[in-house]
């Protein structure tokens, strides 16, 4: 089996995720970008798992998905709380994390 296409796709989606996190201003989009990064990692994990014939990688993917689900719940709750307080989800307006 050829692993390169999978890894390439994984790398592309991961980079898209990183750029999304760094560049987008909408908290929801940033949040989605994080999910994208997680899933690109999942992709490379299952690819290696199949390539090496070792199920450990697939097992790890389930852990990642569980954590991602929990994170989605918490993250969305934070975003809603943020919106209720500031009437915006624009990250440039949320800058109190400083001296």
């Amino acid at each position: 089996m050829d692993i390169q296409p999978y890894l390439l796709l994984s790398a592309i989606t991961f980079t898209i995720g990183v750029v999304g996190v760094l560049a987008r201003r909408n908290a929801i989009i940033v949040f989605m970008s994080i999910e994208l990064m997680l899933n690109s990692v999942n992709l490379s994990l299952v690819a290696f798992s199949a390539f090496l014939g070792d199920v450990t990688g697939q097992m790890l993917v389930f852990f990642v998905m569980t954590v991602a689900a929990a994170e989605a719940a918490v993250g969305l709750a934070i975003i809603i709380a943020l919106f209720r307080n500031k009437q915006t989800v624009n990250l440039d307006d949320i800058n109190i994390l400083k001296w």
Binding site: L22, L91, N95, K98
Partner: protein, 656 residues
């Protein structure tokens, strides 16, 4: 039997620890009083037992040291290594001091139960007193200079704590800062003035260690015994030791703290500032008699300072109106006599006077305490008078004390004072001038003591009708009676040969001072006719002083007023204590305060130290001003830096 020695020191320490830790929980004054005085009483019993057993021994067997444990050891194998044990030495001199400290101390503890009744700090008072006795016993029983110094500092601390016992009360220190001082100012004054003396003691100790290579009494005095007099080091050592003594024993130039120490409760004045602590300097000089014998010049200084202090304090005592201040100046004056004795090589006479003085001065102070107790804290003798009808026991015992201090035959003061005066006149180291000073002082003593008695107890009452004086409770009067008895008979231990006595105390102390006497090559004087002449002369002067005081203050009070107006300048000089406090204030205190305030406080502390601390903080804040711009609070920028960092690491891993 000598192995019981540490018990003497242990009991008061246990009393202090017990009362200090849980005294505040004890509701019963009786229990606190019993514990406080009981521990001292037990010490006295042990000391008395030792004393009686020593009586049965040969003079050379009467000395023994008990080592408890090594306190400080810097053993390096070189001669300069220092080893100091906690060791207690019993000999003829230290057992005598121990008996005085615990015996008189016990009586004063008992008296305090009555005097301090109802005071909220009752337990604290007894804890301090026990600590004081512990420290004082360390001072007199130590077998080396360092342990003695520990006791020396310990009694200074207790003195400070007890002078300022009523720390919130106003106390007029006279002249200096009128109206603003509290008793804690008096306590601080005592402590700081004593520090000057302690500094001298410390320097002397350093010199002794350099010179003799040890701090142990036996080692130092043993090595000193083979030296010849005249070395300048010995003069320095003895003069520095004497500086320590002038601080603790209130001699010129450091006597100024003692009159202000009267701010403390009266039993404290009796115990610490009359009978025991202030005599520590005399004891120390006596203990180091060999060293003084090697430095005759220093002995001259001791004698002259003693004689000057005796007469200076006596003249101030003539015009003071505070009952305790009169007694305080009298104490300073009597301590002067003891040093006069030391200075003319009459060591045992000085210690003898120390013994009798402990009896009659404790008696007089406790008597004045009973008066103050009866007069509801009034201390001005101009506002007393006629108290003998209300306080018969106090009156009788007080008069006994006054006669004893005036030196009237056959009361105790006569024998001890006369011994000193005779030695001041006849000793190779004395002179007729020292004798004249001493005799004049004795006359003045008789005068001011009977001025005190006349104004306080006799004549017409001069206090308001709202005061109803009453006799003190038995816990206070019984110690008075015992001390009065001792003041009468105390002198019989030292009846001189000329009066067909055995001079028991001199023979008892002989072995302690023998090395010094050998060094000084004292000629032994037989009974001389001069001695009788001088005796009668000083007795006559004392009687004249008493007669004059009674004449002036009982029958011709207008004479006193007339002199006061006529010699206003001299009166003011004496009343203001020769302006010594003011002079010291101008010369030392105010300049020290100025330097401290201007240079040390505002210069060094505020500018330099605070400046350095605040400056470094400001420098960091300034640097942070620039750097903290990087912290925008926008999480995405942080993440960008974070990703950039990862990239750098990755690239480095790829190309390394």
């Amino acid at each position: 039997m000598f192995s019981y020695t540490p018990l003497i020191v242990l009991f008061p320490l246990l009393g202090f620890i017990f009362l200090g830790l849980i005294g505040w929980r004890l509701k019963s004054e009786k229990l606190i009083g019993i514990i406080g005085s009981g521990t001292v009483g037990l010490s006295f019993l042990v000391a008395a037992m030792l004393f009686f057993q020593m009586l049965g021994l040969q003079p050379e067997d009467r000395k023994h040291a008990v080592e408890l444990f090594t306190w400080i050891s810097t053993f390096t194998g070189t001669p300069s290594s220092l080893t100091v044990p906690v060791a207690y030495q019993i000999d003829q001199l230290s057992i005598l001091m121990t008996l005085i400290v615990t015996g008189v101390g016990f009586l004063i503890h008992v008296y305090s139960i009555g005097y301090m009744h109802g005071d909220p700090g009752f337990w604290r008072f007894f804890a301090y007193l026990n600590l004081f006795i512990f420290a004082m016993l360390n001072l007199v029983l130590a077998d080396n200079f360092l342990l003695m110094f520990l006791g020396w500092e310990g009694v200074g601390l207790c003195s400070y704590l007890l002078i300022g016992f009523w720390y919130d009360r106003k106390f007029d220190t006279g002249g200096y800062k009128p109206g603003t001082a509290t008793t804690s100012d008096a306590a601080k004054k005592a402590f700081i003035v004593n520090r000057i003396g302690d500094f001298g003691f410390l320097l002397a100790m350093f010199l002794i260690f350099i010179h003799f290579g040890s701090l142990n009494f036996d080692a130092v005095f043993g090595r000193a015994a083979v030296l010849t007099p005249g070395s300048s080091t010995m003069v320095w050592i003895t003069l520095l030791l004497f500086l320590g003594a002038t601080g603790k024993s209130a001699q010129i130039p450091l006597f100024i703290w003692l009159p202000d120490a009267m701010a403390g409760p009266t039993p404290v004045s009796a115990l610490i500032h009359a009978a025991t602590m202030v005599t520590a300097g005399v004891y120390m000089v006596a203990r180091c008699s060999v060293l003084y014998a090697l430095a005759p010049a220093a002995m001259q200084v001791v004698a002259i300072i003693g004689a000057l202090t005796a007469i200076l304090a006596a003249t101030i005592g003539l015009v003071q109106n505070d009952i305790k201040k009169v007694l305080a100046y009298s104490t300073v004056s009597q301590l002067g006599y003891m040093f006069l004795g030391m200075g003319v090589a009459a060591f045992s006479a000085g210690i003898f006077h120390l013994l009798t003085h402990a009896f009659f001065k404790a008696l007089l102070f406790l008597g004045s305490g009973a008066v103050i107790h009866a007069m509801h804290s009034e201390q001005d003798i101009q506002k007393m008078g006629g108290l003998k009808h209300h306080l018969p026991t106090t009156y009788k015992t007080f008069v006994v004390g006054a006669i004893a201090i005036a030196g009237i035959f056959p009361f105790s003061g006569f024998f001890s004072k006369d011994e000193i005066l005779w030695k001041a006149f006849s000793s190779d180291y004395g002179s007729v001038f020292l004798w004249i000073f001493g005799v004049l002082g004795a006359g003045l003593t008789a005068f001011y003591m009977f001025r005190l008695v006349s104004l306080t107890f006799e004549g017409e009452p001069r206090y308001g009708h709202e005061i109803h004086p009453h006799e003190a409770p038995p816990t206070m009067t019984i110690p008075l009676i015992i001390l009065a008895f001792l003041s009468v008979v105390g002198g019989f231990v030292g009846i001189p040969e000329s009066l067909l006595g055995g001079n028991a105390i001199e023979h008892w102390l002989e072995p302690v001072f023998a090395p010094a006497y050998v060094k000084l090559r004292l000629a032994s004087h037989g009974v001389e006719i001069t001695e009788y002449v001088l005796m009668v002369l000083s007795l006559g002067i004392a009687l004249a002083g008493i007669y004059a005081a009674r004449l002036v203050y009982l029958r011709r009070i207008e004479l006193a007023e007339g002199w006061k107006a006529k010699y206003a300048r001299i009166y003011n000089l004496l009343f203001n204590k020769y302006y010594v406090d003011e002079a010291y204030d101008k010369a030392f205190v105010s300049s020290t305060v100025k330097v401290s305030e201007g240079l040390l406080w505002k210069g060094v502390d505020v500018s330099l130290i605070d400046g350095a601390v605040n400056g470094s903080a400001k420098l960091i804040a300034l640097a942070a001003q620039g750097i903290r711009r990087a912290q925008t609070g926008i999480a995405q920028q942080y993440a960008t830096v974070f990703v950039g960092g990862i990239l750098v690491v990755l690239i480095w891993l790829m190309f390394k």
